[in-house]
Symmetry: D3
């Protein structure tokens, strides 16, 4: 059993799992982060600062230290999903899923026939689970992001999508979706927290995993304690900027100031 298949089993068993979120096209730092012991490292191809080549470099870097790489794909599009999986991603997080039909489309894009419509051409993925379509279908993870008003309204149906391994909350978009003027808008804190409950309860009812993006380890611990089954700490860019600002403040005898709220 590889780390990839083991993690897939843990996700499907709704065990508690921790990940880290990568936005930088910087394979050496990605590799170092993967080595610290997170269960997975998620490469952000939607808002992150890379495209295909950076994604490929990042997955390779995670592999170099024996980690597991997932990709948040650019969009719910078979081309992007296929490229991420061919490059060796163990799973895909698909943004902006509004309803069960879109969730089913995401699953279809990630699975070979007869389950789905993924085109055959494993490249680095052949390193991971062998060339048989069924083996790949069995172990590839697919998550639908809940971050729009429609997605929130349809979360039970989305969770019930055959082949979907779970849902994943994008808190910045979701906060705006529930009426926030900006991420973490205190004016909508209650409705936002209620939405988080809705999502995780829907996942629990359907028996699928419930994941969420968090800005820090402590927040990840809190969400897992509340009932989310996996959480990602985010992100390299914001953590690095914060560290640099904190060191500057320490050098000058004050406190860091880089908190500009972009921890989406």
């Amino acid at each position: 059993m590889t780390r990839h298949t083991d993690l897939t089993a843990r996700i499907r068993a709704r065990e508690r799992v921790l990940g880290y979120w990568i936005t930088l096209d910087s394979p050496v730092s990605t590799e170092r982060i993967a080595r610290t012991g997170y269960d997975y490292v998620a490469l952000d191809a939607q808002h992150g600062l890379f495209s295909y080549e950076g994604m490929l470099r990042g997955i390779t870097a995670v592999d170099a230290v024996g980690g597991v790489a997932w990709v948040r794909v650019e969009a719910n599009d078979p081309t992007y999903i296929g490229k991420a999986l061919d490059a060796g991603a163990g799973g895909v997080i698909v943004p902006l899923v509004d309803d069960a039909a879109q969730a089913a489309a995401a699953v279809a894009a990630a699975k070979y026939p007869p389950v789905g419509r993924r085109s055959y051409g494993p490249m680095r993925s052949a390193l991971r689970v062998g060339p048989k379509p069924a083996d790949s279908n069995d172990t590839t993870l697919v998550f639908a992001m809940i971050e729009t008003p429609e997605g929130l309204a349809n979360v039970p149906e989305i969770c019930a999508t055959p082949g979907l391994d779970g849902v994943y909350v994008g808190p910045s978009d979701l906060c705006i979706a529930v009426g926030g003027a900006f991420p973490n808008d205190p004016a909508v804190a209650e409705v936002f927290e209620a939405a988080l409950v809705t999502v995780r309860e829907a996942a629990a009812s359907a028996g699928v995993a419930a994941g969420i993006h968090t800005a820090a380890g402590a927040q990840a611990a809190q969400r897992l304690a509340e009932g989310y089954t996996f959480a990602t700490v985010s992100s390299d860019l914001t953590h690095l900027e914060q560290a640099a600002a904190d060191h500057l403040a320490a050098a000058r005898g004050g406190r860091g100031t880089a908190d500009d709220g972009t921890g989406y």
Copy 2:
């Protein structure tokens, strides 16, 4: 007066100056760090994870937020020094300088005739101080690293090199140079601290700047308080790895463990 020429004046006046050390080929994080307010950002072409193209991208990223970029060059070699300056570096930190002749060679490589032997071909540097060799010669900073037994022994002569703007301590190499088995080896802590005093007093006597590499902002503040005139907080790779480890520990309810002593 540009930020570059202003910083040069401050260095030459032995004012207190703070910088940050970049090892990653990741322009977007370099840009964010430069924006936090450090007086300079130093790109490490010796041990950092990039070569010419990464250096060029990094300097451009620093410029994009109005910062000042210096380069720690690969070696005391006119080709590397010329390439860094042509790419727009405001100054060069030259490693492993053993004596005054090597320091003079570093200066010669960084200055056009008749002062030195730099070959004319400004590229991005033409954006900064104009195409006249004398203008460039006047504002380009050159630092010699003190990090070998020979360099430490010859630090007064090195400081007296015409055109040299200061010395810069590489603490990891210097610690090994004074007999340490590894950087920060407590067995040589006293002799190491004595060496630091030797370097900064030599610089003070010669009226040139004394810089040093530090692992954190607080340590930078301490070195400046002791009499160093500039200090660099280092580095993006180690800070990011530490942040990821700290968040993981927090998520798991423990403490970070990434301190592997590589903060050279």
Copy 3:
């Protein structure tokens, strides 16, 4: 007020504005061109010779000299529009818009909810206007290209699209759209010029900006004199080829010959 927000205001006031068109993945030349003083530099992600990474490099290079970068996106697709804006583009020029619904889709892709459906994840764009969605919505420019028969027919409705800042003529495609056998086909010169009048009058009626692509500065001046409110001189590749050909001809005592009509 930043250069970006200032330029947005000028566009919306229908002031006269000049830009330059970049097709090369060559950040240093892009930077030099931006420094010459154009109001904006437009990076062509549709027909230009780069993809995401080149676009990111190009925008950073424009920022390095304090310029404003816009992007002509690959297609009217939320993924491309979001990536360009996340990378720091101040505005997007959206190709091949056929009708008001497509124009509205372009606007929706460029604006966060509740105005549109842009997903939240500012990266370099956070450097520019702050992380609040409304601030970004207020200052991001969106232009619809008029270059198809349908687009020309529907230009009044397109101009009336809420949130659209203007229309932009792609003369090569438009010339073919009106029946030309090739760009600048003299056989359709009259109908083409009439189409240009149609577009700029529609924009004027709707109170939005009217932009156009031109092959040279003199032509840009002419179009602005006619009533277009902004014009882009195009492009680095054709101008450089022409310059090389002209110098060769001068060296050989003749005239340049690179005019192959590809100044689309």
Copy 4:
């Protein structure tokens, strides 16, 4: 007559033509392979290990030895098709075509008006056939891949699509499409071979070319002997892995073992 236009003529005359399939972003090996004498070199942008920049580098490398480059595009999408052709591809192989409407869309994306809807902006393609849209339309090759159940069912209608130069079998996907559990599944060998007959007979009836992917030169020869008019030997990655494994086995006194069936 250029090699490109000559090859186009041969394809349209249903002459026998041989190609090689590139998945690596490795221009120097692509160049060497192109030099061995294949009639075309196909760069795989769907499953290959590159995106736009790699495709551009690969086409340039093929041109450097006077070869002809085609591109298997990422998807049946005008943006991908336009980018490949602008970059200088002599033809496009469009994956996953299910019916005549999709085939017509592929043709429309590859041809300028009034034949299709390709947007005008030749870049490297201007090096090849001149800037006149009609010239480009006349010589650009478009192939539809037959590799889904729907595509197989609709192959006569697809072959009849005006402007389509031929069909191209993707054997791995097609094998799965006819019920195989994996590529080359012996359990479906007969139905698979029957499908190949169906495709080439449909092409012959329509007078268009019939192409197919093969794992080796001998297999290519066999398919051409059966009636396919062009065949591609695939691929650099699998052949190189096989060669390395064979040399290792020879060094150790055994036989190579790299045959993992991924020769899709």
Copy 5:
């Protein structure tokens, strides 16, 4: 014991070891080759088609499948040797070593003080053997290439260099060094073979490893049988070109023709 330290022990015990030689900047093929089971993969930074970034990518790719990467450095220069080791190479093959002083310089460049003069700044190498200089010194392999008339004359003294782990024959240069008009020149076959005997006997006498470059697995087996202790099969570029030519010949019913003697 890691694969790296294990291999180091085997080399020092003069066990038989097999490697593969990489010249392409193509990490995915490098990774696939490393996975076939060679004891090491050597990346050629002297004549290969990459510089620092390609070397870094290649080493990461080898790590991704648990292999061991060595680097043939650009030249016997501390900057190149340090960069290769910082990037994570387990050993360096240093070209064009003429005498014992040059061999000693190569060792000094690869070892930290007090053994040598390598500057401290582990990056990826910190992933491998920990940050203590002595640990790195103990496990890093250093080989001197014998490929010049001087090197051949001085091979016993070179083999006796403290800290040197072995010698490595570059057959193309060595063939020319002994008077050949080109690599594998049959006119000098006897003197060339005698030189090979000289080198391996000198290594055996000194108790260090003797390595050699070969064009194929069978030749590697032969050299190991003769008494060489390690052999590298070379190279990806030539093997891939040969495979493509062979498939073309097979498709056309003839034989491959890519043998142009460049298997240096």
Copy 6:
């Protein structure tokens, strides 16, 4: 006879030859420029904006349109010279040659034994003149730059170096070398022009080519008329910046202003 060998013959016959100078890492513009008809295109690895990978891309681009590429190498160092030639350069322009010994070293680095000491490992160069060392030695061009006081003083001895094909004036450095405060300093115009006469007369006496860098085609024509045998028009970066500035001035009704004297 290839274009490369034909050009070599013309240079050695002291025929009039024209080239263009590339500083941008922008292969598509390099390709377009090469297509305009210059006899050679020189890629500047010393002051240009690229390193090895950019040089390789540039040479490939020149080959793609059947041109001849030379490289001005980073320094008079066998590693740089070997890399440029392995990558396929037809000749090297070696900067900062001070005397005959340095010129002889440059020749030795460019020629295989027994003529010189170039290490054997042709890569792209094998595409050009075949793998036999003597063939390569016969056709590879080597030029020594005259741009220092010492080089000017020793120009007759430099011209007499066996194997050297000519000298090449770097006017910016040479102007400074003769006492100018900046390139084109009118204060030293006479002594500068006298130096140019010295160089070309020394070349004529020795029967080798005399080349020179020029800022424009008309200046190239003038230098050829005076007796220089080849001239390079320089450069893409300055010409493109000038073109952009000229178009801006034209659009605004004024004159271009980009003439900042950096046409080194």
